[in-house]
């Protein structure tokens, strides 16, 4: 099945949303993204990790090393309070955008 490109600027929104439920490691995030998008999105780790590092640098995420489900030591990312605030803002903006797009398409 063809994968979709992740629209510009939405990767961070999706990362924050996924992490707002539970902390995950990088591989876990990419798996979760794939399953939640019904395999429409396949995030390239080459884009995922830079985004994670940026969010961590900006204090939206914090990271912690601990054992994974199969006992591999992995870096788990968790959302911070600042991250939740950003998530809310992004979410509101995204809702407006999708509402607007949907309205345009339906009105046509």
């Amino acid at each position: 099945m063809d994968k979709l490109d992740i629209p510009q600027g939405t990767l961070e929104l999706m990362i924050l949303t996924i992490l707002s439920r539970e902390p995950l490691h990088g591989y876990g995030i990419s798996q979760r993204l794939a399953s939640l998008s019904h395999d429409n999105f396949q995030v390239n780790p080459g884009s995922l990790f830079p985004s994670l590092y940026r969010l961590e640098q900006d204090g939206k995420l914090k990271a912690e090393w601990r054992a994974s489900e199969n006992n591999r030591n992995a870096k788990y990312y968790a959302i911070t309070a600042a991250g939740r605030k950003q998530l809310e803002q992004h979410r509101r903006r995204w809702d407006r955008i999708s509402f607007a797009i949907a309205s345009v398409l339906e009105g046509a």
């Binding site: 798996q31 390239n44 780790p45």
Partner: protein, 916 residues
Amino acid sequence: MTLLYRLASMAKWIVGRERAEQRLDDEMRAYLDLSAADKVRDGVPAAEARRLAVIELGGVEQAKERVRAARHGAVLDDIGRDVRHALRLLARQRTFTVVIVLTLALGIGANTAIFSIVDSLVLRTLPVKDPARLVVLVAGPQTTWTNPIWEEIQRRGDLVDGAFAWSRFDAEFNLSRGGETQLVSGVWASANSFTVLGVMPMLGRTFEPADDARGGGPGGPVAVISYAFWQRHFGGARDVVGRALMLDRTPLTIVGVTPREFSGLNPGRMFDVAVPLGAEPLIRGRESRLDRRTSWWLAVMARLKRGQTAEQATAAIRGVQPQIREATLPPGRAERYLSEPLTFQAAATGRSGLRDQYQRPLTVILVVVGLVLLIACANIANLLLARATARGHEWSVRLALGASRGRLARQLLIESLILAALGAAASLVIAQWASDLLVAQLSRDSVFLDLPLDWRMLGVTAVIAVVAALVFGVAPAMRAARGTPIDALKDRGRSNAATGRVSIANGLVLTQVILSMVLLVCAGLFLRTFDKLMHVPLGLDRDRVLITDIDARRADLELQSRLATYERIRERVLRIPGVTSAGLSVIAPLSGALWSRRVEVSGSSRVRTDDVDGPEGFGYTSRPIPDASPLAIFNGISPGWIATYGTPLLAGRDISERDGPESPRVALVNQAFARKFLGGANPVGHTVHPYRDAGSPVIEIVGLVSDSVLRTVREPSLPTVYVPFSQTEDDPKPVPPPEVSLSVRAASTSPAALTKSVAAAVGDINSTLALTSYSLADQLSETLVQERLLAMLSASFGGLALLMAAVGLYGVTSYAVNLRRVEIGIRMALGATRVAVMRLVLARVTLLVGAGIVGGLAIASWASRYVGSLLYGLDPGDPITFAASAATLAVIGAVAGWVPAHRASRLDPTQVLSDM
């Protein structure tokens, strides 16, 4: 908030680099493990699963690099990498690096050293409260005032927010009770000086208004001492306040110490002791200047009221100028007295004789060292260019592999900056050493300049270094950015880039030659000035005279017996073996002092006029004596003085012991006097009459002596009247003067050897006289300090510039020869002679040097006008200097070009052609 996180994270990245890298690596491995494990679970074989996981990640190193690039501060990483790369490179090419760093250290160090002196003398503001509101009183060129004028201004102190006065020329006080003088520098200051300045004492108190009472305050006369003097003389004792201090044998009470950062009102001069004006008559006794309406010795400063401008204050003081003038009019001359309008001028940087004296020379040297640095930069740029060409291949390859031009240029600039930084660091050592040396050369007196290695100095050094790096780094960087990948594929020796480098290098060398030419002319002008001054006909024997200044102000010596004592001293000194003659004078030659009066001469065609400006009276001034003015220079001398200095008597007779206080007034005059007042006619038999008091006796000219220097070497012939010591009038110095100079003529040419015996002889007559001895030759070289310094500095910097230009010329010629090896080889194979080859190479050199000399001469003839006032005996466009400088440069250029030309002519054609 976010910014803080970023900074913290960047710091973590920089400080814990290893750890962060390790973590990043771990994370990638964890991803691979987890991904591979999933795939194995789905049934993929382990090895294949691993491979798929790596593909998914897009390569471990590539992924890591993307993370690194995405981080904030990634640019810093790049720069860090460039810096490390550059450091490795510079460490590998050690000779290259050392040469550049040393060149820069010299260039920057010289600039910093000169700047620190200029800064301290010219730019630094007074260490007082709100200096922007301080103004100084001037009137045209006039900057000093009499005490009566000051008292009138003081009474009108409400025109401004307080005014104060202090002695413009440093007073010197003697701490000892007799014998060898122990001088401290002092300043007379009105009682409110420290209050108006806003200088708080660090111990005790400063002056109070009561201290200014004539003869001292209620508790007797007081003194405030400086921090430096407190440390030096009292070892910083806390109980110094209340102690007694003997100044010129007058006891004063120390009431306070000024803070360390306050070094006085005259920058460049340390003050040890400040004494209230009111105590002046107590210390100076009969020589007190407080009530003299002709003694101009006080500087006046005022603090503006808040919101008041200097113009408003000026208007206010001009409003009362007629009253001030009226109240202080001296007897006699009137027309021009205080006629120039008074003006308040911003004074935030204080007044300094030292500054006035050295500002222009220092500016000249500042420009000179700036040019030297520029030449050094050109040389370094050439070295970098040569190396850049050597690295051209590397760059072309990097460009071909996708590096951006900006990136390459950045790396080169970073290399330049690192070189500049190393040079700047080394220059700090040189600067410190050089400025100490310079200050020591400036004068032997207590010149005190605060030259700390502070943030200002570091800042200036850094700015100079960065500018230098840009100057010498831009050309190579631009060339790097211009290269093309295709150059990598071509043979380097024939690429356009290499010839392009020659044209840039030619331009740089041309600049160097031009600038060196300018510096050589400058050095030549100052060297010739110094030489001329050293060989000015002094009109007196410089090598045989020892001068001993005798100060009788506080000695146990009755006024009535002074004259007799002086005469006994002279007779006693004459008996010293090795002394052939001795004489006394009011003014010693080259002391810088001037005693001038308006005179009428019988038989002179000059019309009596008051209407010409000129220095009149007694004092230290460098103002010229206008030829139009009726001013003549006076000196009081004893019999034997003329003979002591070996000045020939041309007509009439010398003065003798018979010309006493009661006998008719007589005088000797010099040739300059005869020229000025009598058109060169024999003056013997004419009379001289000083203008001022109608009743003063007429002086008969009894002898004509040849011209000799008096005030400075630059004025070998001032119109001079020598009156007998015993007949000097009560102006400006009372009869007989309390300070005289004893000159003795030695049979040998080492008069300094007589110092001890002369002191002993004077001590035999009166042991309480204060004495200071020096030889005339020493005095002469002391007065030429500035000229010597200028000549020395400009010559060394000119030499340095010449050397660097020669190196540059040699470098660019060698390089060009190298590029044309094949061509030259072919020419020689086809029969060109060695001479023809040399001519080929030298033609280029000649063109470069010739163009440089012409350009340099043009600039020098324009620029030399600005040093005209520092020259003596020659024009700024002195043809000998210009010709000699051009010749020197041509010779050096020929040598620098001949070596590579000679090497080219020795090329072995078969060798060259087989290398092809």
